[in-house]
Subunit: 190 residues, 6 copies
């Protein structure tokens, strides 16, 4: 059986990894979809799809199941999103998600969905991790070692600090390569 698990993985952390390890006990092959693949260099989405492919692939190396890691670009059309995902992924039998919208879309398309509790939700949240990088607090213990390696190889902490300062410091007249995103410093209420 082949399973599919999608996330933005900004960055991939121990909460994701814990969930992947649980899924790996249920499936023979696992596809990880890198969501919002076209986004990067913002506070909410600091890393490119390629950088996330690298950190996820390396972190999954020890798993026993066959894994695929595929970037999924946003399509901004909920009604065709499932077909888009299916075209970018090896055919899968079950999708894993806790997000009500994702669950709804897969279910309306006739795809089986399974949910599971996230591990240590209060700290293992992408926005919390990004906030720690920006403030200089500890984050290395909350992600797999391979993710630390990747972020250091690409000088990722310096990047997220610099792009985050666009929000606080950037005046109205600046050019806008991409919409400023609004990732708060506190974790989302989940």
């Amino acid at each position: 059986m082949r399973g599919f698990y999608i996330g933005r993985f900004q960055p991939y952390h121990d909460g994701h990894h814990h969930m992947v390890e649980e899924i790996a006990t249920e499936v023979d092959e696992l596809v990880l979809g890198i969501g919002s693949a076209g986004d990067s260099h913002t506070r909410r989405n600091p890393f490119t799809a390629g950088e996330r492919v690298m950190m996820v692939t390396k972190a999954l190396d020890e798993l026993d199941v066959t894994t695929y890691v595929v970037p999924i670009e946003d399509l901004e059309r909920n009604s065709v999103w499932v077909s888009h995902v299916q075209s970018m992924s090896p055919k899968f039998d079950v999708a894993y998600s806790n997000n009500p919208l994702v669950v709804r879309l897969f279910e309306e398309a006739g795809v089986e969905v399974r949910s599971s509790p996230m591990f240590k939700r209060e700290v293992l949240e992408g926005s919390e991790l990004r906030g720690r990088m920006i403030r200089g607090d500890g984050w290395r213990d909350l992600v797999p070692d391979e993710v630390v390696d990747t972020i250091e190889e690409i000088d990722g902490v310096a990047r997220i600090r610099q792009v985050a300062s666009s929000d606080a410091n950037g005046g109205d007249d600046h050019a806008r390569p991409s919409e400023t995103d609004t990732d708060g410093e506190t974790p989302d209420p989940a």
Copy 2:
């Protein structure tokens, strides 16, 4: 004379229908444009273009004038929006709208625009109706019967409740099929 009236119709309600009946006294043929046709499965835009085409077409069945119901996908370029609308619609002589931006765009393009007061604005507002569906309050008396039929055929209330819970409950790490929209529970101040 052919008239054009555009709305998102999420859902089509008695306020819209009242306005359509008034327009029908002024024109021979009426085009209804289903705006933001590509959006669906969000709290602000729960229904697909096709579902809205169905509810509007059935609700207009009794009208004496010839009607056309055409989905209009967003183009995100105000400067070409009028041309886009004109290419998707039978040629029209007058556009009906109360929205200042829509009025401005049509006027700059040399199209006659007529405005008229909306009927029972305080309750007949899309966001109010969607809030009632989510909270379990009464909404069936505020829309044409054919709209009730359509929403029940597609299990629409369950859908809007499920996707609305993405806003309150969804953590940061979830995949993002589409930007969460920010439709508040209270009616807009209009």
Copy 3:
């Protein structure tokens, strides 16, 4: 040496002009990029790319250096934004920007970036100027004369007032040619 300076120029004002005059002392040729070229008819982006090309070109007429004025459409992909800019502009040796994200993107692409303090930031801010147009306060003394001429030729103040009223007055059911933008009446904290 050829320099590149990008802004949205909504509208082009004395703060921009002051910076351009300084840059002109450092380069032989200067490219001005009109950012968010596809946006217009909103409170935050009232003027089309063509209207901004006209006001900037006329305001630069007296400069001694060769100038190019090129519209740059948004691409919504930070990772390819520099390549996009480079393909629309004559080849340049140095980019001028104070925006941390723009600086980061150019630096990661190996392009030299220079920053400089903006002139009279407290009033020479696009959002402040647009707020003055909407409220009927004085704005003509804060922009080059050629910009006043252009805005009057296109009836620009009436346009920004009308589209700005969409935010305050427009109810939920209205059609949406483009996302309402959220330009506040007070200057940005920069």
Copy 4:
């Protein structure tokens, strides 16, 4: 039962109409999808979506079944095309098509497809009809009367003649609003 039938309808002709009348004996409601809705003003696609909506709607007026006429913009992604069509149309139970690709796509998506022989294929072919318009040969007897009315209202024959001359006469240096299409003067080998 609701059926779906898609075509480019450039223009809608007696062959289409014959097929629609047959489908109408099998379904309660019929959706006509106007394919390649964004294309117009070329030899192969002379009429806008709105113009085709008008000719089809008027030609279907006498039918006993409820009909919907919806423009379908191209998405250039076969793998999501069925979902796209489904989002723009009221939910349908069966699709009608003779095109092998369309049949394949619907079947892979689990949608029932029915095929049927086209009527008088040798003359009732869009490219043959457009060729006749360009050469000044008779075409009015091969389309419903309402289509003649629409094409005359929009001065359609003059348009197709003028845009067709771009192929034969247009040199390389001309601006290119859209790719020249390659509709030959002879009917396709079907």
Copy 5:
């Protein structure tokens, strides 16, 4: 009076320049639109928009009228093409074109169009010039000196030779950054 003249300018040559000089006798200000601005690095469209902006701007420097040079990206929608052009250009009173499609689109939009015979059409044709660059035949005498300078600055002849060899030599399995274009070695029949 302001005039608008659009071309792909691959490259800008004496035929274009001759036409521009004639137009300059009829208008006060002239806008040159660089068509297919997003295309480059193919046999048919070797130069980027920015490179063409540079060659055109420098070649126009001696003209007495005020000139604007604006890249126009393709939109692949003929029905909104005029609005798109108008949004990227200072407002113009008359368009110059010999292309029947362009003439038709402007006329349907109510814009005055003027046509004029091209100068020395048999050699002053973009495809002829590009063929000469590829074959090593003389081309420098057929373009303004500033165009020679620009093409040499960007090593343009080497580029067009290399990308042209993709057509003849490239097998099926190669990656495809962009559709191969089909610019023949002989001039177009115009």
Copy 6:
């Protein structure tokens, strides 16, 4: 050192595999880019990105180097194509390609490119392989075993035969989910 090799892999065959094995002797990590990732269900591009990810990943399983397999959607803009590829891939030091356009684009972006002769070019060509599938000739001996498995799992031969018949048999009036491609039955002249 990390290498990057891109192809459409329609399907992945022994010629590709031979080249990959050679590259693997030169690099520590290898990224395979699946080009034209959005295309599928045509004669020239029968398989989805996900299906190609599966066949390539399984065929690479025995390699000693770390491999990444990433779909790359077309962008139709040569000038930003390298940046697009770089954003979807882990950072690489050298690109492998025999295509002159790809070589040119990488070189202009400052990326090292290496070329090498393809293995048994006369039969190991995608179009030859697809022709054999359509005609019922032998193709299984020309691809890795894992590719045979994948194509059989997805019923790929039936699909390519059905969509290929659209070219020969499809009349003009059919709906067009995607442009018909023009893959001839004979191998390309390379």
